[in-house]
Amino acid sequence: MLEVDTCCKSYRTGAFGSGELLAVRDVSFAVSPGEVVSLIGESGSGKSTIGKMILRLVPTTRGSITFDGLDISGMSGRKLKEYYGDVQGVFQDPFSSYNPIFKASHVFTMLRKEYFAGLSSAEWNVKLERSLEAVSLNPGDVLNKYPHQLSGGQLQRMLIARALLLQIRLLVADEIISMLDASTRIDVLNLLGDLKGRGLGVLFITHDLSLGNYISERTMILRRGTIVEMGATEKVFGNPLHPYTKMLIASVPHLHKKWDQIEREVGASVREHVLREETTDEPADEDEGALPLRQVEQDHYVAL
């Protein structure tokens, strides 16, 4: 369904834009219907940039992104609108995603004007209510309120409902629950799981490995713009091979095991890694090409 092929994104830096910062380097992956793919990375890994490239919010420097075989970079006008009818996004900060001077329903009315202009008010209301109920929200509770009167969880769910209105096939979820409380996180996550069961494909971008492990079928570990390990989730987490993956897994705080024990199990040293990262200020430069991914077992690739 979605195919990303050797995508690169570079930014110009320095005075007069003479320098170049390669935020994303040679990233390739695919997302199929009914599948949740996690893109896991720390800050600066380029994961949000990839999400934005797929949503056409940021142009791709090199490489291609195709949806159902059609290259999305050339799209504009009506074709782009059609694309947004199939692919939508939800972002990290629910309070920043809503224009504070409008009611929360504004995000729906925007869509109505662009996509459902022909519907009568009655038809529109029915459609709207159905979407809200699909995300377990009571329309009466949320529609007439302003964003600051609602909770983060409600706002995020409304954004998912908004995406569902269009009957999308791919959702780009960029850290959608990191700003929510622990007790609401799991509800939104379960919602994604339900939707996945109904055929929705999800690109789940996160820095939290436990969440990625919980919800996704396939996982990609991103480091400084390149994929270092990818494959079926249980294989990547059960048998991590890249030192960076091992280090990440060893850093996650568990509720029933202490860090030392996990570190021994996985065989990594977190403190060394952190210290090393800080002494080398320069990001890897362009000449140091991304190592290609090698297959090490069925549905498990590592860049070693």
Partner: protein, 319 residues
Amino acid sequence: MAVSKPGTGVVTAAGAPAPAEATAPISPQGAPAAAPVGARRSEFLYFALRNWKFVAGLGVVLFLFALAIFGPMLTPYEPLEFSGPTDQAPSSDYWFGTTSFGQDVFSQFVHGLRATFLVGLVGGGIAWLIGATVGFTAGYRSGWLDDVLNMITNVVLVIPTLAILIIVAAYVNVHSYLTEAILVGLTSWPWAARAVRAQTFSLKTREFVDIARISGRRTRQIIAKEIAPNMSSYLLMMFILLFGGAILIGASLDFLGLGPSESMSLGLMMNNAFLSSALLLGSWWWFIPPGVGIIGIVGGLYVMNVGLDEIFNPKLREM
């Protein structure tokens, strides 16, 4: 409520019509344009009427404005008419006395107010339009367009405006206050453009702009419907500053004798008074009213603006 937003400790009723929803930490919005529209208007009035700076400033400006509109009907004399004895102190016939040419100062004053307001509104308005357009476009669409607009802005900013206006006015032979207003407007927009650009930059990175983009909205719509309304208080205050600024520049031009001479303005009055040595002759009634008039309008506008800032920004309000 979101985990990572800091709370603003002292809460004002930041536009929440349904008090039952209040949970702590208190609403994260503290910035001027954060309250929703409907409740914002009534909240605005509530605070506006209690802010003496706003009320006083607005009062002075409105009073002078009323005088500008209705004043000319109150006086039987034309401003340039040589209607009476020269150099008369204020009397019941001539409320503000007469000039050394025998013209009624009050009549000159109220007509001058009209011209001054015209220059302020039109000049300020033009500057506001150009500044906002350039600012929004440069701020929203970065890249080469931003660079070009930035360069133009900087050039116009750096040009000594008054010098240019003097030169232009000397050659173009300004016949009406409308022309003067246009000239003033065309040269005083750069700082406004920069300010709008900076604000647009920061609003552009907010995620609701991304949501608007993936909803299929086009650039112009996004600027007009999503970004500008968020800055409405800022844009209002900017207009007031441009209004005041235009009046000052116009008055300076008139005072230097470069404005239109066929009608009267406050600056021209002062020019005439100065040239006729009114100060030495002791004809205080000739130059004090226009001076007070200019100070009144511009000062009133600026004080009003300070009050507006307090009204819009909950953090500045005295609790």
